[in-house]
Amino acid sequence: MKDRFNLYRFASPATFYPLAGRLIPWFTALAVIFGLAGLWIGMLVAPTDFQQGEGYRIIFIHVPASWMSMFIYLVMAFWAAIGLAFNTRLSGMMAQALAPTGALMAFISLWTGALWGKPMWGAWWVWDARLTSELILLFLYIGYMALTAAIDDVRRADKAGGLMLLVGVVNVPIIYFSVKWWNTLHQGSSINLTKSSMATTMLWGMLLMALCFWMYSIAVALVRARSIMLERERHTDWAKALLTGDEK
């Protein structure tokens, strides 16, 4: 009973703000530790791929970024659903705080994909189903951010953005499959990621990097959520007390 009570207590910005402040250093530290370990394994320990040479090592950045870009969209849609269903203030703030990180991840994924594609496929960009749907995901992030930025009333921005996220989540599978069929109908898939049973060290490197990206995203989202909270709650007593220097 007490646990339940405690969990809901943090749905209020006044209580969540200090909690987020205490959590951020931990997630930052974890991100650094996982990142260093992952990069060490990925760059130094993992064996050179017999087909792709050293160039394959970019997957230690590319794959975690792609995972995060998709996962963050789902998390945002989750917060949007909570926000629309229960009318909680914090949910919209979390969705907005996550959006730039998600867009960044989608961009990194496309960018590193292009860097990998040039030596491997001989082209910066091919209209492959995965590349195309990642690009569309980036468009969806940008649309969400543009919509919330254009609405001055923050409550309306949260709700409208939340609805947009839910519509997007319903559409993502439709878009993915239509792009996939479009690709296979237009031309035979000329690219095959020959996943020749990945070595265990590579898998470890990738998992550690994924954890690093995960921790980084949480830390950055919390920092951003804190500033959104301060901005929106600046009229309240606790925010005023914080801003005038009574910081704990």
Binding site: I136, F139, L140, I142, G143, A146, L147, A150, I151, R155, R156, K159, A160, L163, M164, L166, V167, G168, V170, N171, I174, I175, S178, V179, W181, W182, L185, H186
Partner: protein, 222 residues
Amino acid sequence: MLKIVTAVISRDLKLAMRRQADIVSALFFFIIVVSLFPLGIGPEPDLLRKLAPGVLWVAALLATMLSLPRLFADDHRDGTLEQLALSPYPLGLVVTGKVIAHWLVSGLPLALIAPVLGIQFDLSVDALLVLTGAILLGTPALSGIGAIGAALTLGLRGGGVLLSLLVLPLYIPVLIFGAGAVDATVAGLGGEGHLSLLAALTFASLGFAPWATAAALKIALE
């Protein structure tokens, strides 16, 4: 229940008929955009035949976008929208009526003029028939999905550009299957599969989009 849908449709059509210039300008936008492509690419019939489905469909998406901001804006400005939201009928049904009316004045004319433009691109008779059918089947989905965007951006500054940012990514499946149907016909594969998927998209969006639009309108009217 059906009465409110037909009432909204006939009201919106009456309003549209009093401002026919709006319909005609969107239609001419479509014609002009399509005509620009041969000028930019060159007049080789083989190339044009290959590009025609994509060009016509992209132009159709843009022409639909053009008329979307007005879907709710006028009613919002003079307060009609609030009265409609207060009426005892579900707002989703009202939106369904408005979406159908929007399709009748924006999607249907595109489908009627498309075969003429297709001839300019040297399409065969079969391909022209499939093109018309695909545009007839696909444009209601464009009106339906677009209504969500129009409701979300209601009354915002820079609403038109924002609307295209939100809605165009969601139009991609319609574009793919619409253009794909014509492509498959030109290639001799038969476009029935694409047309079925297009019809599925249209029915799904006409079924679900009005309710999402109604939710968005309620947010905007708060």
